[in-house]
Amino acid sequence: MRSVTLAAMSEAHPLTPKEVAHVAKLARLAVPGDRVEALRGQLAGVLGHVAKLKAIDVEGVEPMTTPFDQSNRLDPDEPGTCLPIQELLKNAPAVEGRYLAVPKVLAEDAGG
């Protein structure tokens, strides 16, 4: 196995279990309590490594969000064909007629 000199340069990252739980909530991922610590260790390892970015001088450098160097292209506003609804609905986990079925969003007493 090759020696990994890069990992040695990582710094410890102070990620807490509470932060992991918070990020899981933001990410809409149900993370069971007994998995939080393992996940915390793995994420802290990666975050410790990416801390190398701090050492790079970026004074006055513009962020680069994409390598694509052409400006926004506008299409002519012409109607085209749509994908068939019936075929799209075949992939839905639950349907009612030609609609997606979802759990009740509003509580019973929230109606007016």
Binding site: M1, R2, S3, V4, T5, L6, A7, S10, E19, V20, V23, A24, K25, L26, A27, R28, L29, A30, V31, L39, Q42, L43, G45, V46, L47, H49, V50, A51, K52, L53, K54, I56, V58, V61, E62, P63, M64, T65, T66, P67, F68, D69, Q70, N72, R73, D75, L83, P84, E87, L88, K90, N91, A92, P93, A94, L100, V102, P103, V105
Partner: protein
């Protein structure tokens, strides 16, 4: 006839020496037999492939032009939408998903007479470098089944290397075409960002993703690319400028080719046997008239840090669409389940551990209080990495080095996520800068009685795809003994 040479198949079908249906049935039979060992394909679409092949034969019989890829069976990575079969991204999340449309590249390949023969396995949602993280079981390396094929386009690389498809399609976000091509011993080409439409590619890192071919030869990779490339109204980031024909001058060596070799690429951290092979390939290039130019890419190392902020950030946004509502896995209903619970439970059940890790990482670096320190800073470093390439290309035509610091490793060997990420050190910056890259087989290292392939990685400036393929063809011609299919 060589059934894994796309150009030969095309010529034979067009000149009526063989029928497309004969090509497809032989290759499908071979793929089925090999797949039991390799797990390269999730699905082999025999019926659909035979129907497409029959249409090609009918065109030939009627005297119509069957297209520049007539009868060539194509293995499509399973994160690229095909109307036939499933498009699962090797994820439980999309286990039953069937795309209502073809990706633009698939549509163009079909129009050129190519035949979609099946869908290949990958690291779930293209996140990985070993094709171990696949919901349908790990893919195995055709040179040594006790090794990984690399990833994430491991199924496509294994299929191309084992000669069980005409050509294969992959996607490359940080090396996912080039690294498995190197580990499996086939040609893997990632075009310039924007050159091939991403419409129908399930998005991972939208500013990094690019579709490209994996093939037995540079010529076949160039042919496939030529058919797929070009502006697409359905992808606003597809480049509008005309595509330079990569086949036109492919066989003509570039006179006075200047090959830049970054001192950072020949690192002591690489497997020394890899460095030896790379060095000997550079010597052959020099012998063939190229000049080897030392160049500096001091930010090479920082690429991993930059990439593992930007790619997860984009992934966390892209994968937000998988919520169990419109398509994909939905967690069973239970009493008291809120809509938020349904999202969180569906996603936790549908996504595997690596995908969840990357979503968490991306969410963290984009969250309030950390955005500037991680994501904002990574985008600035990204511009510096791009500038570094621009400067290097002032003194050379292509940049050469290893595609992977090691040959194929064993499953489980890189169980720590960070160790796995470090495999991508020589490929991620290509995507960060948006330039094209290709891996070409240059030889083998002996390891425990087996031969493991090694590829030379070449990079060129944005939009110099034709030049890059010409240089790759030169390398290929200097390493004929390395360009052989795996003994499966």
């Amino acid at each position: 006839m060589n059934l894994s040479d796309a150009t030969e198949i095309r010529d034979a079908v067009r000149s009526r020496k063989v029928k497309a249906t004969e090509v497809v049935s032989s290759l499908v039979a071979r793929a089925k037999a090999a797949n039991a060992k390799l797990n390269a394909f999730h699905e082999i679409l025999e019926e659909d492939a035979m129907r497409q092949a029959a249409a090609v034969d009918a065109a030939v019989a009627a005297g119509r032009d069957p297209g520049p890829m007539a009868g060539v069976p194509v293995a499509v990575k399973d994160n690229i939408a095909t109307h036939e079969g499933h498009t699962t991204c090797s994820s439980r999340m999309l286990e039953n998903y069937r795309s209502p449309f073809d990706a633009t590249c698939v549509e163009r390949l079909r129009a050129a007479g190519a035949v979609v023969m099946g869908k290949t396995n990958l690291d779930e949602f293209a996140m990985g470098s070993s094709s171990e993280h696949c919901a349908w079981g790990p893919v195995r390396n055709p040179w040594d089944q006790a090794r990984v094929p690399g990833g994430s386009s491991g199924g496509s690389a294994a299929a191309a290397a084992a000669a069980i498809c005409g050509v294969a399609l992959g996607s490359d976000t940080g090396g996912s075409i080039r690294q498995p091509a190197s580990l499996c011993g086939c040609v893997g080409f990632k075009p310039t960002y924007g050159r091939v439409s991403r419409y129908g590619l399930v998005a991972f890192g939208s500013s990094l993703d690019q579709i490209g071919p994996l093939a037995r030869t540079v010529r076949d990779a160039a042919l496939t690319y030529a058919v797929m490339a070009g502006a697409d109204p359905r992808d606003s980031t597809s480049a509008q400028r005309p595509v330079e024909d990569p086949l036109q001058d492919l066989e003509r060596p570039i006179e006075g080719l200047r090959v830049g070799v970054p001192t950072q690429y020949m690192s002591d951290a690489n497997d020394p046997r890899v460095n030896t092979l790379i060095q000997s390939s550079l010597d052959r290039l020099r012998g063939a008239g190229a000049s080897i130019v030392p160049v500096e890419l001091p930010l090479t190392d920082v690429g991993i840090s930059t990439y593992y902020v930007i790619a997860p950030a984009e992934a966390s946004a892209n994968l937000a669409r998988f919520d169990g509502i419109r398509y994909g896995h939905r967690a069973p209903a239970r009493a008291g389940q809120s809509l938020d619970d349904l999202y969180a439970e569906s996603r936790a059940q549908g996504f595997g551990p690596e995908v969840q890790r990357r979503i968490m990482l991306g969410t963290y670096v984009l969250s309030a209080g950390y955005y500037d320190a991680y994501y904002g800073r990574a985008l600035k470093v990204r511009r510096r990495i791009k500038a570094e390439f621009d400067r290097a290309f002032e003194t050379c035509d292509v940049i050469a080095g290893p595609a992977s610091p090691t040959p194929a490793f064993r499953p489980g060997e890189l169980s720590d996520p960070l160790q796995m990420y470090l495999c991508d050190v020589y490929t991620v910056n290509t995507n960060i800068a948006g330039i094209p890259g290709v891996s070409v087989p240059i030889g083998f290292v002996e390891d425990g009685g087996t031969r493991l392939p090694v590829g030379l990685h070449l990079q060129a400036p944005a939009m110099a795809d034709a030049r890059l393929l010409r240089a790759a063809r030169m390398v290929e011609s200097l390493h004929a003994s390395a360009c052989v299919s795996a003994p499966i």
